[in-house]
């Protein structure tokens, strides 16, 4: 399966973007988000970016005020996921120009579009920023 979910959470624990690739009910989602966020926020800079939670792993990284969390299967390459998170941030940066948390909040659907171009059904599809952003930019031009 690869990637199970992608979350963007701010330092106060509020979810800014949530994309799940496996089915969970609303209560499960909230519980899951709460647990994971607590674990990740409690860690400091020196500790490694991988947390084991139940039967899968969480790879996370902090960019300014936002935490990017990706839940993956146990057999997934963690370092590659770290790279993927960075790629995601760079892509959003290119589109929004110096992206910050507010950009994501107010243009949530665009962030989702970008994410959808990159990941489908838990697998990484496209890693070239140009290819990812073409459809999104087209949409902007028409609307």
């Amino acid at each position: 399966m690869g990637i199970r979910f992608i979350l963007m959470v701010n330092k106060q624990g509020q979810t800014r973007l949530a994309q799940y690739y496996e089915w969970l009910t609303l209560e499960e989602r909230r519980a899951l988000e709460g647990e994971i966020v607590r674990k990740c926020l409690a860690r400091n800079e020196q500790q490694c970016s991988f947390v084991e939670h139940r039967n899968y792993k969480i790879v996370y990284r902090r960019y300014a005020s936002l935490f990017f969390l990706v839940g993956v299967d146990n057999d997934e390459n963690e370092l590659a996921i770290l790279e993927f998170i960075h790629l995601l941030v760079e892509t959003m940066d290119r589109h929004f120009g110096n992206v910050c948390e507010l950009d994501i909040m107010f243009h949530l659907e665009k962030a989702h579009f970008m994410l959808e171009e990159m990941v489908m059904s838990g697998c990484i599809v496209e890693t070239s920023k140009a290819n990812i952003l073409t459809p999104v930019q087209l949409l902007e031009k028409t609307s």
């Binding site: 979810t15 973007l17 949530a18 994309q19 690739y21 089915w23 609303l26 989602r29 909230r30 020196q46 500790q47 490694c48 970016s49 991988f50 947390v51 084991e52 390459n77 963690e78 370092l79 590659a80 770290l82 790279e83 993927f84 790629l87 909040m105 107010f106 949530l108 659907e109 989702h112 579009f113 959808e116 489908m120 059904s121 697998c123 990484i124 599809v125 496209e126 890693t127 070239s128 920023k129 140009a130 290819n131 459809p135 087209l138 949409l139 028409t142 609307s143």
Partner: protein, 879 residues
Amino acid sequence: MNPFSSGTRLRDMIRAIRACKTAAEERAVVRKECAAIRAAINENDQDYRHRNLAKLMFIHMLGYPTHFGQMECLKLIASTGFPEKRIGYLGLMLLLDERQEVLMLVTNSLKQDLNHSNQYIVGLALCALGNISSAEMARDLAPDVERLLQFRDPNIRKKAALCSIRIIKKVPDLAENFMNPASSLLKEKHHGVLITGVQLCTDLCKVSSEALEYFRENCIEGLVKTLRDIANSPYSPEYDIAGITDPFLHIRLLKLLRILGQGDADASDCMTDILAQVASRTESNKNAGNAILYECVETIMSIEDNGGLRVLAINILGRFLSNRDNNIRYVGLNMLMKAIMVDAKAVQRHRATILECVKDSDASIQKRALELVYLLVNESNVKPLTKELIEYLEVSDQEFKGDITAKICSLVEKFSPAKIWYIDQMLKVLSEAGNFVKDEVWHALIIVISNASDLHGYTVRALYRVFQASTEQESLVRVAVWCVGEYGDMLVNNVGMLDIEEPITVTESDAVDAMEVAIKCQRLGLTTKAMALIALFKLSSRFPSCSERINDIIVQNKRSLVLELQQRSIEFSCILQKHQNIRSALVERMPILDEKTFSGRKAGSLPTAVSTSSIIPCNLPNGIGKPAAAPIGDLLDLSSDDAPPAPVSSGGDFLQDLLGVDLSPASAPSGTSQSPKTGTDVLLDLLSIGTSPSVQSSSSAIDILSSSHDNKAPVSNLNGLASHSSLSANATSPASSAGMMDLLDGTGAITQKHEENGPAYPSLVAYESSTLRMTFNFSRQPGNPQTTFIQATFTNLSPNVYNDFLFQAAVPKFLQLHLVPASSNTLPASGNGSITQCLKVTNTQHGKKSLVMRIRIAYKTNDKDVLEEGQINNFPRDL
């Protein structure tokens, strides 16, 4: 403008929500907004539909229910404009999932969109399908997706590839259709298509083994070439990350190569060159490079053996371990766990580093390192490793203590070279972290202690010292209490001193003090207090001078509010006061517990063996009149002085014996739990009983006979106990004799049982000799074909009277036999009368095997004992 009308823009709503100070305010805002949206939906408002959906998605992300918006998604998808479709599909993917039935309605829209002329719309549809399709949808739309795999636009091809992955996951049967298109995808140039194509092949291999074979034969060279091209390719701005072209593609290719090479030597050979190249030439100062190296090492470890490559891989791992970056170290530890299967020696070299990692401040690294240490331990390094781990146990955090303790205990158990070392280590662990220790662990410790008879003195003194130091760790207290109770005399008399011990003087009253502390301490649980009571009871026999004081303590607990303690103290004080004579026999030293059976039982996880809570005092010599199962009879069998001290193998309930009253080897062959020997042995054993007390082997035979006789047998056993020990014939196995009693009960009640059911089968002369004839009459109850009632009639053919007539029968395992007491045991001469006896036979293999029986008849005639034996094979076939 009213901020909550459906005309609000998304950002205004977000601002409003952000402005809320409390959760209740936020809920109010959201509720108003939802109401507005619902109103808009009802009015079928076209203009603001996609705005509303965007708001709904935001609300959904916050965690509020939004199912009323699902139909909106469908309407949006069905509309013609691209922005609407876009939002509609996004909403579809976020708000719905594959289990909703609403999804089926979308299938038609999806089908149309898959064939749309605008390729972006096709892409949308593929995306949606790939994320949430259910099995039926997948089946319906599979042909379209297949066609799209060969579309002219690479973006569509890549999306179609990922969509196919989902389809074959949902519907594995369709995997064959995708095999060919997938292999052609592997020859693409476009990276996006290549990545997804590789992913598709990976999943195909996982799903279907013939796909695996197909790819193995055809595609490996192509893959190797692609990987080589990518590794050697010049700088490409589109896909470059940290100086490496498209590391994601690298990693995917390596993964696929891993799957193809696993278990197949030829495939592995093809890959060795490229793997070596990647492993040695990738730069490792950036994360991307390390990611590739990680994947490469994993692949090398999984494919077939190649010495040079393995060395390369372990070197890389060594570099990872010494890297300062925690992430890299974590990854290195992870890899080592896999490497240890392959090459344990190489990993041993890194033992010191791994031990360092156990003490690291990072929780993830600690966990990994601990698991790795556990895998590394073998007989030669167990002592130093355990020492390190125990030292670390003292300083570790609470959450981690449980893990470490469990690991240390299992390590010590598996690899302990000497019993004394084992006991020492376990004592240390228990005193540090006894509260985290599971029950099985301290049970096992007790077993080992009891087996190490020369160490009893040492153990009990060590435990006493530790107990004096602190009573915090409850498991430790329990073990200490048990040992002091059991070996108290050794403690006081300094029996079996070893050279390494310091001298210690403990008087009897000190020992009793310790037990009293255990009982009175508030912190300790019920089990511990109960064990302390029994220990005191044992001590009262071993230390006669203190028995007054012990009696007082026990009497104090008679008023305890806890039922368990109250019952025990009442029973104990009863014995102390009224039944002094049996006390010493009751509390004799426990027999050595058998480790093998215990671990076998532990593996089978029989609940009885490890239930410490169920220390029901049914083992106590309290109820003379208790209708008991076999163990009771065993425990009360006090006259078994002539029985050899056989090790208590599977007797009764292990722990109940352990924690209940200790008895001499009474429970040796508690027949019901022993496995019977096979076939004819059993029959022979049975027939060799006679009247001699060679009961050891009979126990197994008794299983054959149905032992579920009326309870009067065991009870009468118990009744007979108090008065005399004439049951010496039933010495060591009153349980087994319970079964025998019925057989031997020729002098039992004279019951004339006349089976009135008409014989459905002809009567059978089962046995005939010159002096005796036995006929069988069969009858059966309708509706119960397996059970047959046999009325046996004995006729005396000789001119002498037969006295003490006794009939015994034995049947093989698949039959069950009940015997009812005979009509009389005197057979008049010359056929002037007869004895009848009824048997009930149940055939569990009814229809497959017919009845067969061995019989033995014993009687006295002319002051001579006569014994006749025979076998009956001529039962009617369908009984």
